[in-house]
């Protein structure tokens, strides 16, 4: 079955600490993968997308980065977290290339203190 996993579900980190959020998908190959952030009162914002292994495009300048080391794995990272990085991070996947329909994972709630 087609499933999106995100880990961890919740995370509390101090300012200046590193970050690694993981997204893995099942039931597909060569998907398009996306990272979105949902901040309170600010809606959903696309951060990164990837159309293949090692191919990352950034939509907004920030202190976050993304990597795709494997076909079905998408990682969101930061070397030093800021307070403004707090939010709900959602991974999305287009299970069938060309269908243009994005499905979302369960999300990771990040709180930076």
């Amino acid at each position: 079955s087609q499933t999106i996993h995100q880990w961890p579900a919740t995370l509390v980190q101090p300012v200046g600490s590193p970050l690694s959020l993981e997204c893995t998908v099942e039931g597909t190959s060569n998907p398009n993968l996306y990272w979105y952030r949902q901040a309170a009162g600010r809606g959903l914002q696309l951060l990164f997308y990837s159309v293949g292994i090692g191919q990352i495009s950034s939509e907004v300048p920030q202190n976050l980065s993304a990597s795709r080391p494997q076909d079905r794995q998408f990682i969101l990272s930061s070397k030093k977290l800021l307070l403004s990085d707090s939010g709900f991070y959602l991974c999305a996947c287009t299970f069938v290339r060309g269908t243009d329909t994005q499905y979302f994972g369960p999300g990771t709630r990040l709180t930076v203190l």
Partner: protein, 117 residues
């Protein structure tokens, strides 16, 4: 640039009443349109989508939406709301990223639905 407007931040309806959530978009080409629902602390679940063809599309959970090109609208409707429909609803427009290899979603700011018993 593409944009999506959901003019109602919060809507309250009684259980069993009909529902319409408004969505207006701005996009120069033929839009790909989506409605998603989000329960607190959860990811987004796809309700329905419109790419082409019949302008009235049916989705899951008894929802439907109608695409009206002349009004640049894609309103979501349900004839009889259930208490479990209480959630936040997002309208989105999909457009091709410049390379043409992927489609990006631009979301509206969401409409919070409260259902009264």
């Amino acid at each position: 640039a593409q944009s999506v407007t959901q003019p109602d931040i919060h809507i309250t309806v009684s259980e069993g009443a009909s529902l319409e959530l408004r969505c207006n978009y701005s996009y120069g080409a033929t839009p790909y349109l989506f409605w998603y629902v989000q329960s607190p602390g959860q990811g987004l679940q796809l309700l329905l989508k419109y790419f082409s063809g019949d302008t009235l599309v049916q989705g899951i959970k008894g929802f439907e939406a109608e695409f009206k090109r002349s009004q640049s609208s894609f309103n979501l409707r349900k004839p009889s709301v259930h208490w479990s429909d209480a959630a936040e609803y997002f309208c989105a427009v999909g457009f091709l990223i410049s390379s043409g290899s992927a489609r990006q979603l631009t979301f509206g700011s969401g409409t919070q639905l409260t259902v009264l018993p």
